[in-house]
Structure formats: C-alpha cells, structure tokens
Symmetry: C2
Subunit: 398 residues, 2 copies
Amino acid sequence: MSIVVQKFGGTSVGSADRIKRVAGYALKEKEKGHDVVVVVSAMDKTTDALVKLAGELSDVPRKREMDMLLSTGEQVTISLLTMALQHKGAEAVSLTGRQAGIRTDAVFGNAKITSIETGRIEGELSAGRIVVVAGFQGVTEDGELTTLGRGGSDTTAAALASALKADRCDIYTDVDGVYTSDPRVVPRAAKIDGLSYNDMLCFATMGANVLHPRAIKHAKEHLVPLIVRSSLKEGRGSVISAKAQKNGSIVGVALQKGISVLTIHGCDGGESLILYDLDSHHIETERIKHREDLALIIKDEDVHAVKKIVSGYSGAYSHFEIAEDLSKVCVIGSIQSSGEVKEKVTNVFHDYHIGKVSVWESSVGLSALVDRGDVEKAARILHMHFGLDYIESKRAIL
Amino acid sequence: MSIVVQKFGGTSVGSADRIKRVAGYALKEKEKGHDVVVVVSAMDKTTDALVKLAGELSDVPRKREMDMLLSTGEQVTISLLTMALQHKGAEAVSLTGRQAGIRTDAVFGNAKITSIETGRIEGELSAGRIVVVAGFQGVTEDGELTTLGRGGSDTTAAALASALKADRCDIYTDVDGVYTSDPRVVPRAAKIDGLSYNDMLCFATMGANVLHPRAIKHAKEHLVPLIVRSSLKEGRGSVISAKAQKNGSIVGVALQKGISVLTIHGCDGGESLILYDLDSHHIETERIKHREDLALIIKDEDVHAVKKIVSGYSGAYSHFEIAEDLSKVCVIGSIQSSGEVKEKVTNVFHDYHIGKVSVWESSVGLSALVDRGDVEKAARILHMHFGLDYIESKRAIL
C-alpha cells in the first residue's frame, strides 16, 4: 500500500472552516487509494495566546514548562481535524507525538527526533484509518514532552514519511512552491519544478522559510520526495527529490540580510571549545577557517551572545574583530568547475560596482558577503547572469 | 515527611492573577515543611471554548477525540502554575495525568482511575519540588488519553492523596465548606465543621456539587482527611474524615429536584439484564426493590433514555409506569433506631400538608419523594425539626 504524508501549518488550520478544508485534502488522497497520515501544527493564534499567558507569569519561563504549554496547541488541532474527518464519514484517529512513537533528545524547545516507533501508526493505517499526528512535538526516553523548535511540524512530517517509507510527503504552505529567488526582491524569480535535497538544503540554510533544514535531512535519509505546494490553490508544486540536476546547473540565488562576521585571529586548532560553546547555546554559525583566522558568519541578533561567549576565553581567542551591516548572497547549485563560477561572480560584482567583502565555495554553491545596501541588486544581477530569469514574465525588472 | 495534596478548580485558576494566588497557597504549605502536590483543573473559560470549537466541526464528536481535546486544558494550567511557582523562586515541576502515573479504564469521557504509579511524583517530592498535576485526566493501559468526567479533578486529588498516603487533601472551592443544607433554599443552613465519609457521600450523591462521590470513595480508601475550604477567604473549612459522628446524629438535609420514578412490575429477579444495560449507558439510578416491583429513581433528563432501554425488553419488563414531576429530600446521618426517624418525618409531612409519595431508608439516612412544589418547604421544615437550624443567624426564616 502506498503511504502519503501531508503536513498543514498553523495558517491552514487556523479556523473551523479551514480545518474542514484540510479534512477534504486528506479524504481526497484516501479516496485515491493511499494510506494517509496528516501532520498538523497549532492553530495560528493559539501559540501566540499561550506565549502571552506565559509572559504574564514569568519573565523567563523555563523551556520544559514552555514545551508542556505549547505542545497543547497541536493536540487541540489533531482532535478537531479528526472530528471533522469522522463527521465526513471517514475513519480517523488522532495521535499525540508520543502516541505516534516520536522520540527526541531532551533539548527542550529545540529537540531533535532520535527515532520513531511506527507500530501504532502502521496498525491504524492497516485498520483503514486516516492518522492525524501532532507536529512539532515528541517525547524523551524519560517521558518528558518536548517541542522541535522552528519548522518543527515540517520535521515531524518528513521524519514520519521517512520512517514509514512513504511514497511522498506533501508540505502544504501559503506559497505554491520553491522559487529561484525571493520574488519580493527578484521579480523575475520562477517556481522550480524539481530540485535536489542538497539544493533545497542550501535554500533552507539561507533562511528561505519554506522548509527547515532538519526536515530536508529526514526526507533525504530514505529518499522520500518532498512536495512543497499551496494549500490555497491546486498545482504541482515543487518536487524535492534525489533526481540529480545535470552537473554544473545553477538552480537559484538566495539572499540573507542582517549578517555579521566575527573573526578570531590566531586560532591554532584550539578553537574547538569555542565552537562547542556556541553549539551548546544553539547559536547557528557558518564557519570559515583561513590559515589561523576563524571567521564566524552569524545573524545580527546573535552578535551580542557570540561576543560574550568568545570574550570569555582568555588569551589569543579574546582578540577578535567584527564586521557588521553585511548581507549574504548565495548562488545555489552543484558547481563542478567552481573556479569558473567564482570568476563570473567576481566579474559581475566588479562590472556592477557591488561592494564585495569575500567570496567562498561550499558543497552547495558559492557564497558572497556584500554590503547591506547592495544585496538586492546583487541578487537580481546574479539571477539574470546565471540564466534564471523567468522570461515570459510581464513584470518589470528593476 | 508529611504530604499535603491541594486541589484548585477552574475558577480558582481562571486568570494569570488567580494562578499567582494559587502559587501562593502552595508555597505557604511548602514553607510549613510539607511536601506539596497541587492538582488543577482547566482555566474556567478554556473548556467552554474548546467545546464550542468541537461543536463547529461535528454534531456528535466521539468521546475519544473529546478527551484528546479537553485534556489540553489542564496541561495548560499545570505549566502556567509551575512557571508562577518558579518565578517566585520555588522548585516545581508540572506532570500530565500520564506522567503522574494515573491509569484509568477506557471509558472515554467518564473514565475511572484503576491505579496510580506514584514513583515519579515521589521522586520529584524527594528532590524538594512542588509537584503540579493535571486533574481530570489519565491514560489507559494502551496509552490512550482519558478524562474522568464531572468532578474529575477532585477525584484526581483524592486518589493521589490516597495513593501517596497524604496527611490531608485540601479541596479549594468557591464555598467555605459543606453546609447542612443548600443555603439558597434553607437560609438557616450552617457550615459543618466535621463529617464522616459516609455522610459526605450522601450529600454528594444527592447532587451537592461540592465533591464528587468518586473523590470521597478514594479518600475513604486510605482514610485521608478531605478538607473543603474556600480559595477566596481564610477559614478552617469542613473536615471529612473517619472520625465517627455520635450514633443517631443527623448532619443535614439534602434535596434534589427534577426526579422521576419508573416502576417495573413483575420483576422476579430477571431484571439484572436491565440494570446492566442502564449501567453500560452510564445512567445513574437509585433502585428500590419492593416485592416484585422495581422502582428506579432517575433524573428527569434520563427519563427518555431509560424508557427506551426498558421497552427494549420483551414480556413483563416492558410493562412499566412512570411518575414524573417529583423531588427528593434526604435526611442525612447515621440512623440507629430508624423507625423513629421515619415516624418523625411522616408526622412532620402530615402536619405541614406535604404531599409525600414514599419514604425509604438507606445506609446513609432516610429519603422521601415529595411533590415538586413541596420540596423546598419540606427541606426547611425537616432542617428545623432535626435541630439543624443555625440559631445565631440573623437572616429571616421563610
């Protein structure tokens, strides 16, 4: 039997009427003969209301209690969606993260899924039921409730799809797919019909909010195709799968504003403690080692915390400098002859007078730090020069 | 170490400010040197909002899904109360019904507690933490979430107190104790300082909403004193314990409106199937066997369902008659020379022209069915004639 996992976010389940519509989507797949697992988030206003209540009781509520509080949101949605399905005559059952067998580590507020025991879900599917699972939540070995952090429901859906060896995982969202760039910045950005896990990972890492990196990694594990599609209109969406792009193809240009670079001089290999410290504070950084210098690319909002951590180390490590007010632009794709792409980017930046700070390669493409004021222009120009512009578009460029 | 269990209902935790006050109550007991377990209900408006949402999705939502939905209410409260306690500098931890080890049967919407594994709670208490437990909920052997039905949080508190062999269980409510009768009907009703489990059971069975019969039974099991007290003002409350009243003492007069009696004629012992059927429909009845007649005393709202069940049986059992528009009044206390009390009641009814249908004895006192219009007058007169009137009262009688 083929299994389809569907995921609907907080906006898609934000009211009784919307929940009824989601029930329709699930039923449609069931009627096609698939086994259906639906993963849902909390109704969009619920989480805000709960966070506000917590704020009235404590300035800094502990994360364990926040997880206890917030995980109720998804539990409400699963029961309501199941009622809607049953009202339409379908057999359905709701399962909390725990009942769905979702085990996590004990990092409250940002837990990672460590394993999924699929027995209960498989049993319910065999009995012909649509299974409605609470996204965003899991349970530790000790029975503590955890939440998965940002993008948590995507992660639940992809991890379940992978564990169940599903045929596909449909991520319903408010956009109709993944775009070659942010259409608000690059008017000629086009929807991508298909892209690889690695390319999507780069989009996600660059802050495209469509999918969380963890979700992509889970799907990649058992090569389950992820389909990003609209919950508002019909469409084929964007398929993220193992189907390789042809070598050297560039799939998009991503951009990220509000970037700072903290450079630590004289790192002779002893910097691992600092990196461990940053990890344990859940601060995401991109790290570039250049001889004895370590450059940490961080978000502006993390600058204060990173400074504090680094200056806690004595000696050489406490000598650092920081460059603020930068942005990052990234040419995404599998680049075989990388020197060529790097040269092209450098030339384009030179021709168009874009203030470039540095350019470097990674496994997913090529990144450049530019002055904050230049990033939108840089993205549009690179998008055009790498042949990504949607030509049929009647929208004006620049 | 002495353990105190406290229970706060939906009104007592109805806002952030009220939750802070509840935290104060818990801290006060902790500072006295007790180990403290706090059981809370859902915030008073939460349950209504959830029920309304369910109603928008299904006319008859299934009970399993209603339990999934409603049990989120208490989970919200436990996390908020725990945050409030931690904010005041106390060590505290919230536990769902499941985490607190509360096992139930699988009667969704009206589950019974079958056992409590106290290991987790005891561990947390030993670590010096105030333990905040979600009332009203439990989990079946199969890991299904259940709710305990009306008065569920009282039941959780009393069952926990019993399992933990607590020193006492404080039931905080919006009244300052148990009264000799309903003060809205009998102005001279007085607060009772102490009464036995059995007497309280009779008050509860008669529909005094202060405590659910199941809660009393749990407390009685290990003879844990239950104290009904106000969450609004200081006071000693009413202590329900094993301390025996002196023989023959009458503690109160309870009344219940909206009663019907369904009499089945010709029951020769074969009526057990009917009774089993009523039980399985969770219809509470009081049963009186008189020769070959079986009288079922039922609430008006259950009349339709009971008629339907009884008429499903062929032969003699389908011959029944029904008396509606009745009320019940009950003289509560341990009655040794019962004939005396019965005679007194009969005489009083005669003297005051009260339309009596029948009078019968049970383990907890003496009950009478009277015409609906006479019940309030009957209660006031019996209250006076059994010496229960609060004489210092300056309120006018009748």
